[in-house]
């Protein structure tokens, strides 16, 4: 049982929890994640470690309430406990001195990208950040991101803040203007990462995407998370979650993410009935 010691509502439907877990905080590296279970009958879900403080023994998770489990998680308060928490999982990000790095993040992916951007900055890279969300209310952690970025751009679908449009519009503009870029990192909805990858492929810039397939154990024991990378099947939970974006079969990822659409609706519906 892991105690919750801080809770914040970051934006509409996006919350953060700080958890006391000395074991995980000590080992955690940027790009890694945890798996948690909220209740005895609950699902195991993966969430990125958005920040870790090994001195205090804490980790932070940021999540968007999209279905049953994330909504249950959102109902927990300071002093409550997470039933099961395991980590850190996945292969850490490759943090090196690349030169100039663009971080393209969308939605709750912004929180997932934060520890990576922070580490890249600390390593001496020039960090350019492009953040996107549907609207102003869904944008998270812009302050923290600004803090670790040399340049920061914001786009929203409706133009309620920043540039009206998609992250890819901003990215394309920067690349077309001839910005010298050594590496691109993209984290967010699969469809966004696919679009980013398509653009950077044209510009031949090495790009890393952090994939988010459905996972169960997240330790390499089931293969639920399998993704095609350059025609080879990999387990995202242990071989990833980060992969060379240009080799990722995004269409397969997208269709696999949809596999339980109907069940998820049933599950979420039932949870609403119970909670109403």
């Amino acid at each position: 049982m892991t105690p919750i010691i801080e809770k914040k509502e970051l934006s509409l439907g996006i919350k953060s929890l700080t958890l006391l877990s000395p074991l995980i905080s000590k080992k955690s590296k940027p790009g890694q994640f945890v798996v948690l279970r909220v209740s005895e009958k609950g699902e195991r879900i993966p969430l990125t470690i958005a920040d870790a403080d090994s001195k205090k023994g804490t980790i932070k998770i940021v999540f968007q309430e999209v279905g049953k489990t994330t909504k249950e998680l959102g109902k927990l308060a300071i002093g409550d406990h997470i039933l099961d928490l395991v980590g850190p999982l996945g292969t850490p990000s490759d943090i090196n001195l690349f030169g100039r790095v663009i971080v393209v993040a969308g939605g709750v992916g912004i929180a997932e990208a934060y520890p990576i951007a922070k580490a890249l900055k600390k390593q001496g890279n020039k960090v350019v950040t492009i953040l996107g969300a549907r609207n102003k209310d869904l944008l998270t952690m812009t302050g923290e991101m600004r803090h670790v970025s040399d340049d920061l751009f914001i786009t929203t679908d409706d133009g309620s803040v920043g540039r009206k449009g998609l992250v890819t519009d901003q990215l394309k503009e920067l690349l077309e203007k001839g910005m010298n870029v050594d590496r691109i990192i993209t984290i967010g909805p699969a469809i966004m990462m696919k679009a980013v990858s398509d653009i950077t492929k044209r510009f031949r810039i090495s790009t890393v995407a952090s994939l988010n397939p459905i996972m169960i154990d997240a330790t390499g024991m089931c293969g639920a998370c399998r993704v095609s990378i350059g025609g080879e099947t990999k387990f995202a939970c242990v071989d990833g979650p980060e992969f060379d974006a240009h080799k990722v079969d995004f269409d397969q990822l997208l269709s696999r993410l949809d596999m339980y659409k109907n069940s998820e609706k049933i599950s979420d519906h039932k949870c609403r009935l119970v909670n109403d």
Binding site: G87, P88, G223, S228
Partner: protein
């Protein structure tokens, strides 16, 4: 020749008069609708009768053929005499998981095959008697064991880890098991379905382990949350690895990542560990098709097929590239699987999985096989019959062609030598290449059953004890008051 007294002749004749007791199973129509246990075991009267059939051979071959050397005639005699508590205690001298092994051991290839009555085709149903002894045993706390002051970390709570923990605890070690999952039991919990091994049975076995003072730390992945080096730093004197072979193998054929294609591990983990068969009461969903192909011929394939059937599949087919004779599954389970209506498509090898434009599986292309020369496993090698390709319509495929070790531990422990498939290399004492680290069970090359995992663990514990004592003897000069329990 030994001359028999009239008394003992009569005794033996009377034993031959008793009929072999049949283990009953629940009727098919009823059992395929739920996840309750299929086998009903023996009732008390049957168990006593069956136990009375045992000839109590002076040189029992059953003991020798049991990988952990349970004193089978003695425990059977206790049952015959209705001393059930003594029966389980006799078994527990060797086996802390009688509840489990009584249900899942391939007895027909081990103890029961060696039984002299097997010549007459009526071997004692030793497994059912073992199960009976465990089931009627009282679930009670045991007096705490005296610690010898030494700490051992056990990685994994499957049959290997649990057995090592039980034996070490009895020898006086302070044992902590580290388990990656949120539930302990290993394959017993996430793999073998409840209709073969009910959750209460595992629960009872697990309580026995805890009564012995073993601590279980769940949700800790060794190699991620803690490394082997961290464990030594935490003060453990030695480490036992029983992490199993949990990584699913795939066929590497076209279409394997289509929706509706599962590894058996994923399908069974969703169903058993995550209780997807109780969705939506339990939140984890599972997809089940109407026409299901299960690829493989082992226990895992049988379990997957029967699980799919119980979750509403109309038509379930086992697709196996050899013939039924070569199937590695327990004979009893093959029979149960067939009785339940699962079809067997043998001598067929999958080539390609077909899908529709929604990336969902629609068919399986196979090729006919025939048996050629025996291979290294002694089984006849299946070879393709050229041009015999055919396609079956399916909307779900379960790949149950085996597992391999998960590399998480070896990747973070360079000292630990593994073979090219990732199995940890051990010597005949269970010692790995890393000093003070032992391993057994599915993680080392060879074993593939519960009882072999247990046997390997017992062997390793024997050596751990020897090693620790030897070390202690060297240190005795410094600390002469240390007393060992054994």
């Amino acid at each position: 020749m030994i001359r028999m007294s009239d008394e003992s002749k009569k005794h033996i004749i009377s034993k031959y008069v008793i009929k072999k007791q049949k283990v009953s199973t629940r009727p098919v129509a009823e059992r395929i609708k739920d996840f309750q246990e299929v086998s009903l075991g023996l009732n008390k009267e049957q168990a006593i009768l069956e136990a009375n059939r045992c000839l109590q051979c002076p040189k029992p071959k059953c003991i020798v053929s049991c990988p952990i050397g349970i004193d089978i005639p003695k425990f059977i005699r206790c049952i015959a005499n209705e001393n059930f508590e003594d029966a389980i205690n006799k078994i527990r001298e060797k086996n802390g998981l009688a509840d489990v092994t009584g249900r899942v051991c391939p007895q027909e290839k081990l103890c029961q095959a060696a039984c002299v009555l097997a010549n007459k085709d009526v071997p004692i149903t030793i497994g059912a008697l073992e199960r009976f002894a465990a089931d009627v045993s009282i679930d009670k706390e045991i007096k705490a064991l005296k610690s010898n002051g030494k700490k051992v970390a056990v990685i994994g709570s499957g049959p290997a880890g649990l057995t090592a923990a039980v034996d070490l605890a009895i020898l006086g070690y302070e044992v902590t098991i580290y388990e990656a999952f949120h539930e302990s039991g290993g394959v017993l919990t996430y793999g073998i379905p409840a209709f073969r091994l009910p959750k209460e049975v595992i629960g009872k076995a697990m309580r026995y382990v805890k009564y012995l003072g073993v601590k279980i730390e769940k949700n800790v992945i060794i190699g991620k949350s803690l490394t082997l080096y961290d464990l030594f730093e935490l003060g453990y004197d030695c480490i036992f690895i029983g992490s199993g072979a949990g990584s699913p193998k795939f066929l590497h054929i076209l279409g394997e990542n289509l929706n509706g294609v599962y590894s058996a591990n994923e399908f069974l983990t969703r169903c058993n560990l995550m209780r997807a068969y109780k969705f939506p009461e339990h939140s984890t969903p599972v997809y089940v098709g109407k026409q299901v192909a299960v690829i493989g011929g082992g226990n895992v394939a049988m379990d997957s097929a029967r699980t799919a059937l119980r979750l509403g599949a109309n038509d379930v087919r086992i697709v196996y590239r050899r013939s039924e004779k070569e199937m590695p599954a327990r004979i009893e389970e093959v029979k149960n699987t067939k009785d339940e209506g699962v079809k067997f498509m043998t001598l067929a090898n999958p080539l390609k999985i077909l899908g529709n434009n929604q990336a969902h599986v629609t068919g399986l292309e196979c090729i006919r096989m025939e048996l050629g020369e025996p291979d290294t496993s002694g089984r006849r090698r299946p070879v393709e019959v050229k041009g015999s390709n055919f396609t079956i319509n399916v909307d779900m495929v379960i790949v149950a062609i085996g597992q391999k070790p998960n590399p998480i531990i070896s990747r973070t422990t360079p000292e630990l030598k593994v073979d090219k498939e990732g199995y940890i290399i051990v010597d005949d004492r269970g010692r790995t290449s890393f000093e003070k680290v032992w391993a057994a069970g599915d993680i080392v090359p060879g074993p593939e059953t519960v009882i072999e995992a247990m046997s390997g663990a017992k062997n390793a514990v024997k050596d751990i004890h020897l090693y620790m004592k030897r070390r202690e003897e060297k240190e005795l000069v410094l600390n002469p008051v240390l007393a060992w329990k054994f």
